[in-house]
């Protein structure tokens, strides 16, 4: 009896908090028919927002993956002063509000920011331009690969690499042939998490974008813009596109997880 009650409470809680609301958005988006939905997500602004979102992901994910693996190696393999500090610094984006991240970028890269003068002199616009949005996306999704790679590297140890080195492998060879294959599922999981975060970032991007429709508007920003403009069905449509992308990443997450465990 206790078991059934627990199950009932847990499942109802999940249904009311997650299941039903998400289902309802899909229902609302399709309410007026698939044709209407397609029209709403194929306007030039919507297409531009979709591509801009994809570009953000395409830039932020590879950069953070390379950084994540390098940083993981440094954190696990090297002993130096301030290692704990570096580790804490990498976690910062988890702890900092996205809005604060956006504000921080404006203070450095904005017109009157620390580097603003130099950037303006060289004709580079960061804030209210896609470049700033890329920076914001990189910032918020920075820690994921590092956090997934560090435990795997720690468990791996250095025995095999040392063996390879004594057999004459160069550091690059031993990295490519031994380390990288061993940590590949950790990296893959980190990449999926980074992608999910980069796709869905709203706060930080919102602050630095200036929200110029058709220029600096990503899908998440478009959801808000359409909603504020009383185009609720349009907002649901854009939200469904994002939700579908999120579902794909979720499926990828679940596909990778068991492999990592075994």
């Amino acid at each position: 009896m206790g078991r059934l009650a627990a199950r009932g409470v847990a499942l109802s809680y999940l249904a009311l908090l997650v299941g039903v609301p998400v289902g309802l958005v899909f229902y609302r988006a399709f309410e007026k028919g698939a044709g209407h939905l397609w029209e709403s997500i194929s306007t030039p602004e919507a297409q531009h927002a979709f591509w801009l979102t994809c570009v953000m992901v395409a830039i932020a994910v590879p950069l953070n993956t390379v950084f994540g693996v390098l940083c993981g190696l440094v954190l696990v393999r090297q002993r130096f002063r301030g290692r704990a500090l570096l580790s804490a610094a990498i976690d910062l984006p988890f702890a900092v509000s996205p809005v604060v991240i956006g504000l921080a970028l404006i203070l450095v890269y904005g017109n009157r920011g620390w580097l603003g003068g130099w950037l303006t002199d060289h004709g580079i616009q960061v804030i209210f331009a896609p470049l700033g949005m890329v920076l914001a996306t990189i910032f918020v999704s920075l820690p994921f690969v590092v956090r997934e790679v560090v435990p795997v590297l720690r468990e791996l140890g250095t025995d095999q690499e040392q063996a390879a080195t004594t057999l004459g492998a160069t550091p690059l060879q031993s990295f490519l042939r031994i380390t990288l294959p061993a940590i590949r599922w950790g990296v893959a999981y980190g990449v999926v998490l980074t992608t999910a975060r980069a796709l869905g970032e709203f706060g930080a991007v919102s602050v630095v974008s200036g929200k110029l429709a058709g220029r600096t508007e990503t899908l998440t920003l478009q959801v808000e813009e359409r909603f504020q403009a009383f185009d609720v069905t349009g907002a649901y449509a854009a939200a469904v596109v994002l939700a579908l992308m999120a579902l794909v990443t979720l499926l990828a997450m679940n596909a990778i997880k068991p492999k990592e465990a075994s």
């Binding site: 998400v22 996205p98 604060v100 998440t220 808000e224």
Partner: protein, 248 residues
């Protein structure tokens, strides 16, 4: 290192620098204006409420997912990760669809403080569940069975054996959830209406301050938020170390 500095450290340093531009007095004036105090108070209280609910609900969900067997458990299990995968603005919109003015349930929580708590509950759902689940999976059933054979009732077994083992994980998950709740922005924008003194959370206040050009004020409130989440993360780090030492 240069990458980390240019993208993360330098900008955050700029926030701290900007907040103290007018000296400590200027900082204090920005932080202690009534609207900022109200926003920070709302953020703090709502986050604490959310942490308390999550600690109970998260542990219960994890327990059901590990110890119970039913059809569709796999689906439920992946549903837990949905709030991580779903963009926060979409999260706000989904909650508004069900609990908003035209929701089918007839419950209208939009623009109320309850909506703040609801949004935060949604985005922080996975933290406690995912922290507790692996520990429960590893937990040895023998101790519980021994206690039961000695006449302990189920609630006693749970309180005296299961709960103490899970406590570090519950605390760690709650801490992460708290840090997340304090900074949450996207899911609140549509759902709460951002009414000053009523439903305006700290992150939303910062956003409107930036929009209206009060960058120094925004930086000051940001520093308070930074301190809050940084202290929480340090606490979790401490906790993790202590648990590791006990294991060794």
């Amino acid at each position: 290192m240069a990458y980390l500095s240019l993208i993360a450290l330098l900008p955050l340093a700029a926030v701290v620098a900007r907040s103290t531009e007018g000296g400590f007095a200027g900082f204090w004036k920005a932080v202690s204006n009534p609207q900022a105090v109200a926003a920070l108070k709302l953020t703090l209280i709502a986050s604490l409420v959310v942490v308390a609910i999550n600690a109970v609900a998260g542990t219960l969900i994890a327990w059901v997912l590990v110890r119970d067997e039913f059809r569709g458990k796999g689906v439920v299990n992946s549903l837990i990760d949905l709030p991580f995968a779903l963009p926060t603005i979409v999260a706000g919109l989904t909650l508004l669809a069900l609990y908003g003015p035209k929701g089918p349930l007839g419950v209208d929580l939009a623009f109320s403080r309850a909506a703040v708590v609801l949004a935060l509950l949604f985005v922080t759902l996975p933290f406690v569940v995912r922290a507790v689940q692996p520990l429960l999976l590893d937990l040895d059933r023998e101790t519980e069975e021994a206690a039961e054979s000695l006449g302990a009732t189920q609630p006693v077994v749970f309180r005296r054996i299961v709960l103490p083992t899970l406590m570090p994980a519950i605390l760690a998950g709650s801490g992460l959830g708290f840090a997340r709740a304090v900074g949450e922005f996207g899911s609140l924008v549509l759902l709460t209406g951002n009414i000053p003194f009523k439903t305006q959370a700290a992150s939303v206040l910062i956003f409107s301050q930036v929009e209206s050009g009060d960058v120094t004020g925004a930086a000051a409130v940001s520093v308070v938020l930074l301190l809050l989440s940084f202290v929480t993360l340090l606490g979790i780090g401490r906790l993790a170390q202590r648990t590791l030492r006990h294991d060794g």
